[in-house]
């Protein structure tokens, strides 16, 4: 196990360096820069803009800028945002809570629903329920999230006045119930898509399992259908879900761009979007590295869980 972990960590470190180089290059080579927003306004002269570019070091050669960023990063200094001069890590952490709250709710909701719908669909293959679930999943996957979000707002907020039209809580009222109330809309929208994904995976995984010989054996032994499903089939069918869960972990923390924007949710997705559009290089790089680490950790975690859950998987890696 130790060698396995060590090797994985070495691979991860190398990958991170490569990711950072590519990310840095693409980000800086893209036309435009953090000063564009001031140019259009007409209240700052070109002399001011040129001076600021000089002061921010934006006109130095790219490799030098990268090297400086890299060595500062090695020392744990993520840099300062160009927008509000705050430390990048502080900015990321301050958006993490909102995203975690939303994504965790949505994912748990999607997991429970998805596993249930998928299992039922597999057990009652080609039934009316299965067909409806299949069509439903296709529809859910095809609907653009922003549109669905706006429909929810239009119907339930503007029309029926049941749900707030966005935000994490009412200003001046941060109570638990108030927060739950605000959570319903965006988490439903997010869960819709993930439920579709989870149910499709669960269905095919379950189908795989219930056609195995040992299920037939169990049935021949006279084990009740209920026990077959929960004691024998479910355990094995859920295994591939671990991989999906591992892949989902990063999205838990990196947020949902579109939903967070439509529902005014102050999370990581929106931070990323805002930072990109302002060309806030330090923050974008920070989020990039943060997400890259999460992706690597997520897949590592999935691997480890896999070997714990399924003794057949060798750890020789």
């Amino acid at each position: 196990m130790a060698t396995f972990l060590l090797r994985r960590f070495a691979q991860a470190a190398l990958l991170l360096v490569i990711v950072s180089m590519i990310g840095f290059a693409i980000l800086h080579l893209a036309p435009g820069g953090p000063l564009s927003q001031y140019a259009v306004d007409g209240n700052m002269t070109q002399a001011d803009l040129d001076r600021l570019a000089e002061q921010l070091g934006l006109n130095r050669p790219l490799p030098i800028q990268y090297a400086e960023w890299f060595f500062r990063m090695l020392q744990g200094d993520w840099g300062l945002s160009y927008r509000d001069q705050q430390p990048v890590l502080h900015i990321i952490l301050s958006h993490l809570g909102a995203t975690l709250e939303l994504m965790l709710t949505a994912t748990v909701l999607a997991m429970i629903l998805g596993v249930w719908v998928g299992t039922l669909g597999a057990v009652r293959r080609y039934s009316l329920f299965d067909s409806l679930a299949t069509i439903g999943a296709m529809v859910a996957l095809s609907i653009p999230t922003f549109w669905f979000g706006l429909v929810i707002i239009y119907v339930f907020s503007v029309g029926l006045d049941w749900l707030p039209s966005g935000n994490r809580y009412t200003i001046g009222d941060g109570s638990f119930l108030n927060r739950i109330h605000h959570l319903i809309g965006p988490s439903l929208v997010l869960a819709l898509v993930s439920t579709a994904v989870w149910s499709r995976y669960m269905r095919s995984s379950m189908l795989d399992v219930i056609n195995q010989d040992y299920i037939r054996t169990a049935r021949a032994k006279g084990v009740s259908e209920r026990n077959i499903l929960f004691r024998h089939a479910m355990r094995n069918a859920l295994l591939p879900m671990i991989t999906i869960a591992g892949v989902q972990i990063p999205t838990l923390l990196s947020g949902a761009l579109v939903t967070e924007t439509v529902f005014t949710w102050p999370g990581m997705g929106r931070l990323f979007l805002d930072s990109i559009s302002y060309r806030d290089y330090p923050v974008v790089m920070g989020i990039l590295m943060f997400s890259a680490v999460l992706v690597l950790l997520g897949s590592l975690l999935a691997d480890i869980l896999y070997s714990v859950a399924d003794p057949r998987i060798s750890r020789q890696g």
Binding site: A30, P31, G32, G33, P34, L35, S36, Q37, Y38, A39, V40, D41, G42, N43, M44, T45, Q46, A47, D48, L49, D50, R51, L52, Q55, L56, L80, S81, R83, D84, Q85, Q86, S94, H95, A98, L150, I153, Y154, S157, V158, D161, P164, S165, G166, N167, R168, T170, I171, G172, T261, V262, T264, P266, G267, R270, L271, L273, D274, I276, S277, Y278
Partner: protein
């Protein structure tokens, strides 16, 4: 602020023509020129609600201001955009403040310096300002002339990322005459400086002086000022809460809290305005396609707010076709401005012929009115030697009469305007193609290094709020030719240059007005920009809010939150 009012400058006291912030309104008081013309801008709801109610005796209630951009730059001397100025104008104070009517009202200063009152002497080279002695910073420390000196010097300090050094770079020696009196020398007479100071907010010396890096200070994350509101809390990506400053030196504040709420999507922002989660939508405003609906919302005041930006087509005069004056004039004749406004902008904005907002004292109302006349356009092009070829498109000496127009991707209304222009100009044999880009791209080098062929853009042509447009029109302001301004269309005109130079050095408003009137005639004739209309954002607030006063001389309409309160 009762004693404040008595110190308000009397009519005709300023002869420095400069005032206002983003646009200059008339020195309405002194010259009986324009004030905010209610007829021009629909119904001034703010004026009607004002009279009835009286403010509460102690700060009460909360206002939630909805913004589609997040305020992030809190240091008032560092770079920022409109939304950041809401923080600056409410947490901090400047020496004087530009009012909706164009006058300057003393704030930290006791009176606005002028040649008459002796505040400006030696032909504009020596300025003296007396300060109020009853002002304290939010942390209780007294405000003195040392703070003003420190703020002005910080702007020019090497390494400090100040927003702009225009005007400030002309500062010579600054002398603290007494705790509440300051004077400084200028290296040359520069009348727009008075207006620039109206948007220069003073920062506390005692909190900043010891900082090793002025660009990254604790103050920058938690600003301390002298304004009607104090910094309270910030939830990044969501809102900023300001609290009443009960020891404010002026009138108010009457609200207990002011919350600046960030809602990134304009449609979502409008939805939150409808459902009452935000009390007000300003700056980017309500999308124009919702104007008709929004006007009829119950318990909401929705109106067209005046703005000093001009929407225009900006040609690059380096382009082989666009550099010819007859071509630009033909394009202007062939542009059906009214149809564009009616069909795309729901008839909301009003056409303009000038680069100057019509509320400015420098605005020239006698410019020739635009007429839509494709025949005249064709005649001009024929005469200039642009002949029609295959498919009816024109060319001259092998140069096709073709160019690109660019604007920000995703601005749906502007994208539709481009389609109209394409049609209008194809009719006179001009091939227009569209090349749009994301904001961060288009307003980068593409704009400031004049790489565009033409742009559809909304921008202003002023120095701060002074009508001086030299930074946009002077031939010394072309970055591509070593200049330091924002003359990205690369226009060069000797008469205009001379006029702008004279305008900057003159402290005689009558003379300045003549200068800028003539300049507008030249620009209308030469068309270095093709003006379409003056910006008209649709803003709205919940009924019952008193004190809201749109101000074209500020860059945002939450400039005076200290005077706001909820009526019955």
């Amino acid at each position: 602020m009762s004693h404040d009012k008595t110190m308000q400058p009397k009519s005709g006291k300023f002869d420095l023509g400069a005032i206002g912030r983003r646009d200059m309104l008339g020195l309405g008081l002194g010259f009986g020129l324009t004030t905010m013309a209610a007829s021009t801008f629909g119904f001034p709801a703010w004026a009607q609600t004002d009279a009835a109610a009286t403010p509460p005796s102690k700060p009460t209630g909360v206002v939630v201001v909805g913004l589609s951009q997040e305020p992030v730059s809190f240091h008032p001397l560092m770079p920022g955009v409109e939304v950041d100025e809401i923080i600056w104008t409410n947490i901090f104070s400047s020496l004087w403040v530009a009012q909706p009517d164009g006058s300057l009202k003393p704030d930290l200063a006791i009176e606005v310096p002028s040649v008459e009152n002796g505040g400006i002497a030696e032909g504009g080279l020596l300025w003296t300002v007396r300060l109020r002695d009853d002002v304290t910073w939010h942390d209780g420390k007294p405000f003195t002339a040392e703070d003003v000196k420190y703020s002005l010097e910080l702007i020019n300090q090497e390494g400090f990322r100040s927003r702009t050094r225009v005007g400030h770079s002309l500062l010579g020696e600054i002398t603290v005459v007494g705790p509440h009196e300051i004077s400084w020398r200028m290296t040359e007479a520069f009348s727009p400086y008075l207006a620039l100071l109206a948007n220069t907010h003073m920062v506390p010396r005692h909190l900043l002086e010891g900082e090793a890096d002025q660009n990254s200070t604790a103050f920058g994350g938690q600003p301390v000022g002298t304004g009607p509101f104090k910094w309270d809390t910030r939830t990044p990506g969501d809102n900023i809460t300001l609290a009443a400053n009960e020891t404010y030196h002026g009138d108010g504040p009457y609200l207990d809290q002011a919350v600046l709420k960030y809602v990134p999507d304009m449609t979502s922002l409008y939805a939150q305005f409808q459902t009452g989660q935000v009390d007000m939508v300003i700056i980017s405003g309500i999308p124009q396609n919702f104007y008709a609906e929004a006007k009829n919302l119950p318990d909401r005041e929705v109106f067209i707010a005046p703005s000093g930006n001009i929407e225009l087509v900006m040609p690059n005069l380096d382009h082989p076709a666009l550099r010819e004056k007859p071509v630009r004039q033909a394009l202007y004749y062939a542009m059906n401005k009214q149809v564009i406004i009616d069909a795309i902008y729901y008839g909301v904005p009003t056409v303009t012929e000038s680069f100057s907002p019509r509320e400015s004292w420098a605005y020239n109302p006698n410019l020739p009115a635009h007429v839509y006349d494709p025949e005249k356009a064709n005649a001009l092009l024929d005469e200039a030697g642009w002949v029609r070829g295959d498919g009816g498109m024109r060319s001259k000496d092998g140069v096709p009469l073709a160019f690109q127009i660019s604007t920000t991707t995703g601005n749906q209304l502007r994208e539709q305007v481009q389609q109209f222009l394409m049609q209008d100009w194809a009719a006179i044999g001009v091939a227009l193609s569209i090349n749009n880009m994301p904001a961060a791209v288009i307003w980068g080098d593409f704009y400031v290094r004049s790489q565009f062929e033409s742009l559809l853009v909304g921008t202003s042509f002023r120095t701060g709020v002074d009508p001086d447009p030299a930074a946009r029109f002077a031939s010394t302001a072309i970055p591509l030719k070593g200049g330091s301004g924002g003359n990205y269309m690369q226009w060069q005109n000797a008469e205009a240059d001379a006029l702008m130079k004279e305008g900057q050095a003159s402290f005689d408003q009558e003379r300045r007005r003549e200068i800028y009137h003539r300049l507008q005639e030249i620009v209308r004739e030469e068309l270095p920009i093709l003006p379409i209309w003056q910006y008209a954002p649709v803003e709205g607030y919940k009924k019952g809010l008193v004190g809201f006063a749109p101000n074209i001389n500020q860059r945002q309409n939450a400039w005076n939150m200290g005077s706001w309160f909820w009526g019955s």
